[in-house]
């Protein structure tokens, strides 16, 4: 933690993430309006005192919708990455620990999955499911675990050759015990880095899907939805494109800064 504070970029990333998390958590209290409240008397009003980020084509307050959109982004990011990290750790551990045919099978599966452009795979799967926020999280999670698997396996391969693992094996510790108490805690660094970076890409994928109309369905607000609404009025209602665009940019930047900062730290440690 101290090292993060010393690294100004990582610190900036951490602050951005915390700030957005606070805004998202307290969205209901901070929103001046109901994000779905339609007011056709004030369609596409430019930012002013009543609506600090203006209103959209149905007269809904963009600021309130942005705050609720932050919830969606955060939720999708965390749950999707949670799923992918879990799968990645389990498969990576098995492959790295047992080696042999299991390892070959798992790593070839990773190669196959990596050879398919993941955004298009997600698009294809989502097109067949009912688009809902839960489906999106699950699909993103199920299609982005390959990096973690590789990382965990690589860590395990090098750790397994160390003396302390030999010692643990000699005193008759079970496989599960070795994995959970010796190997995993020692490979936590890279896993955390890839998790943080993974959140950034999950946020981007969700925005992309919503932008294409395959993500969160109307009238629920999401940054991608607001952005796609804004596309049509870009010459006129700049606020509909600027604010969600900036929000996505800053959030992704925040996670990337923190992730890179953490990576620098762990690299120094080893």
């Amino acid at each position: 933690m101290k090292k993060i504070i010393k690294n100004p970029l990582a610190l900036a990333g951490l602050i951005i993430i915390l700030l957005i998390a606070i805004l998202a958590l307290f969205a209901s209290y901070l929103s001046p309006y109901d994000p779905n409240y339609i007011d056709i008397q004030s369609i596409l009003v430019s930012p002013n005192k009543q609506h600090i980020m203006g209103t959209d084509a149905l007269g809904r307050d963009v600021f309130s919708r942005m705050l609720h959109g932050a919830q969606i982004s955060l939720l999708v990011g965390i749950v999707a990455v949670g799923i992918s990290t879990l799968i990645g750790i389990v498969l990576g551990s098995i492959a790295g620990f047992y080696r042999g045919i299991t390892d070959t099978l798992i790593m070839r599966l990773v190669d196959v999955m990596l050879s398919i452009p993941s955004f298009f795979l997600i698009l294809a799967v989502i097109a067949f499911l009912t688009p809902s926020i839960w489906n999106i999280m699950i699909v993103i999670g199920l299609t982005s675990w390959m990096g973690v698997t590789r990382l965990v396996r690589a860590e395990f391969l090098s750790l397994k050759e160390r003396d302390f693992i030999l010692a643990a094996e000699t005193i008759g510790a079970s496989d599960l015990r070795i994995i959970l108490t010796h190997l995993l805690p020692n490979s936590l660094g890279p896993i955390i880095v890839s998790t943080v970076l993974g959140v950034a890409s999950a946020v981007l994928i969700e925005s992309g899907l919503s932008f294409l109309g395959l993500g969160v369905q109307a009238p629920t607000a999401s940054w991608g939805n607001i952005l796609t609404d804004g596309k049509e009025y870009i010459q006129f209602a700049w606020w509909l494109s600027l604010f969600p665009g900036l929000a996505i940019l800053i959030t992704v930047l925040g996670y990337n800064l923190l992730g890179e900062g953490l990576r620098d730290n762990f690299d120094q440690n080893t």
Binding site: I38, L58, A127, A218, P219, K231, E232, Y233, F236
Partner: protein, 541 residues
């Protein structure tokens, strides 16, 4: 020194730029008619085949319509007039139509246009091997023949009222170029030879099509020499090209019409806006084969709960009208005697309760099943916004509604053709003939057919069949008035709005009628012209 240079640079950046804008030109100046010049427009999609009967998509028909003629066409008041035909006679028993063709007319390759071409086209469109969706209308013709080079006769087994309309929409093709070709798959479809105002000059795939005035045009050469249709798949980019002066006309949306233009005087100096009744309507449709929509009280309740004026104000910014019959407002076939259902949430609730529903946690339910359904629509911003407004109103009275927006191809294939939907927000076009057989007749419910909401009403079936056999205009009107009244009474769909067609046309294009005729603003585009003094920038194309 550097400061001076920098400031000079900035002065030039803004100052010099200004002198280049077209503000200095007064496009409002009147000019006398002259030929020549180029008109540039934009298309969302690229035509795939310029033989319209094979292509079936909007972009193809738009281009093909400028190259080919039919036997008949609509004049500016939407009455029939001769196109390739000079005159036509319908027999006493309505079963025979005789067309007298114009003589001495030529294809753009200088070959004469004769009755053989018409007969060839009829044979092609009715041939079982021709892959066309329009064949059925022409298969009703029991026999067709040429009496001589300029007389064509079509015979029907029984009177078919929309017959003349079908002859106004069939492009006549040149027999001498196509008789030995497979019409489904011929180079002619990319390199057509026609008889109308324009002929294809060049086609750069993915970029643009260029049409050139046809010197042999059967109604005489148009004033515009070149027509360039650029392919720009995104409407926002099209609009930017319009503002930049790179395209001369496009249809615009209500926001652009009533928000963008009024706030930017420099646009009003060079672009004129036109508003006319549009050609389609948007509706909220129920799947009548699914519960609870088989219950007329539920349909009526939903209709009472939807505020149509709010949708017109919110989605179209007031640029549209409510309709009560599936006909264009202001035309002969519109049924003006239907009393509108007005927005009345109280009445909606009463109807729901009459059907056995009662409120539980602010949602109506019956036998423990809550009144809840999903509205499907395709990726169309106006329809999506409409669905959101409907959802809000239905939520208010206690109906739980979710919305799902789907890309067009999977919308049609996975939901409409299989009947796997509960409610939809969609549109129909308002056709010029009142025949609505394919949409409302109970026999038209197969996969891929248009009565996908499953509407069956014996009386309506009879009326639709009768209307097709009746050629007397007043009697026909009475039949379709009764049809549209029953349809409104049944509420298988809730009519939402018919939006105005909004066009933006550059002021350098002269000859556009200020008051657009019933047939639309583009009806006299062969009389449009660009005065020489405004023909700048054309080389850049």
């Amino acid at each position: 020194m550097r400061l001076i240079l920098t400031s000079l640079f900035f002065i030039c950046l803004f100052g010099c730029n200004k002198s280049q804008t077209e503000d200095v030109i007064n496009f409002d100046e009147e000019a006398s008619q002259e030929s020549g010049g180029t008109l540039t427009n934009a298309m969302i999609g690229e035509p795939n085949n310029l033989i319209a009967m094979i292509a079936g998509d909007g972009a193809s028909s738009a281009i093909a319509g400028q190259i080919f003629n039919s036997l008949l066409k609509y004049d500016e008041n939407l009455e029939f007039e001769g196109d390739l035909a000079k005159s036509w006679e319908v027999s006493e028993d309505y079963k025979t139509i005789k067309f007298n063709l114009k003589t001495q007319k030529k294809w753009s390759d200088d070959q004469p246009i004769t009755c053989k071409d018409v007969l060839f086209t009829w044979k092609a469109v009715t041939h079982p091997d021709t892959r066309t969706p329009y064949g059925s209308d022409y298969q009703l013709v029991s026999s067709a023949e040429c009496i001589n080079d300029y007389q064509f006769i079509a015979k029907y087994n029984e009177p078919y009222a929309p017959a003349l309309e079908t002859w106004a929409s069939l492009h006549i093709l040149p027999e001498h170029l196509l008789k030995d070709e497979d019409i489904n798959n011929t180079f002619f479809s990319l390199n057509p030879v026609g008889s109308n105002y324009f002929a294809l000059d060049s086609w750069v795939t993915g970029q643009q099509l260029k049409l050139k005035a046809n010197p042999n045009a059967i109604h005489g050469k148009p004033l515009i020499e070149n027509k360039v249709s650029r392919i720009i798949p995104d409407l926002s980019s099209q609009f930017m090209e319009l503002i930049a002066g790179n395209i001369d006309l496009m249809s615009i949306n209500p926001i652009q019409y009533s928000r963008v233009f009024p706030n930017r005087s420099e646009l009003n100096n060079k672009i004129n806006l036109y508003k006319e009744m549009g050609n389609g309507y948007t509706y909220f449709g129920f799947n009548l084969n699914k519960k609870p929509f088989d219950d007329i009280n539920i349909r009526k309740a939903i209709s009472y709960a939807i505020d149509r004026q709010e949708i017109i104000d919110g989605v179209l910014l007031g640029l549209g009208e409510e309709i009560t019959s599936p006909y264009k407002p202001g035309t002969y076939w519109e049924n003006k005697n239907i009393k509108k259902l007005s927005f009345n949430p109280q009445k909606a609730k009463e109807l729901l309760e009459k059907s056995g529903y009662h409120l539980n946690n602010n949602i109506y339910e019956k036998d423990g099943i809550p009144l809840s359904f999903e509205i499907l629509t395709n990726q169309n911003k106006q329809r999506e916004m409409t669905a959101v407004l409907i959802q809000r109103r239905l939520q208010d009275i206690g109906i739980d509604v979710s919305i799902r927006v789907i890309e067009w191809a999977s919308f049609v294939n996975r939901f409409i053709k299989t009947g796997e939907f509960q409610a939809v927000v969609l549109g129909w076009s308002l056709s010029l003939d009142p025949d609505q057989y394919s949409i409302w007749h109970s026999s038209q419910q197969g996969p891929g057919q248009f009565n996908f909401i499953g509407y069956s009403n014996k009386t309506v079936d009879d009326l639709l069949e009768k209307g097709r056999r009746e050629l007397n205009k007043e009697k026909r009107k009475a039949i379709y008035d009764e049809f549209s009244s029953i349809l409104y009474e049944d509420q298988p769909i809730v009519y939402l709005y018919a939006g105005y067609g909004l066009s933006a046309i550059h002021k350098k294009i002269k000859g556009v009628k200020k008051l657009s005729p019933p047939a639309g603003i583009y009806h006299n585009d062969y009389e449009w012209f660009v005065p020489t003094k405004f023909r700048r920038n054309e080389m850049s194309l």
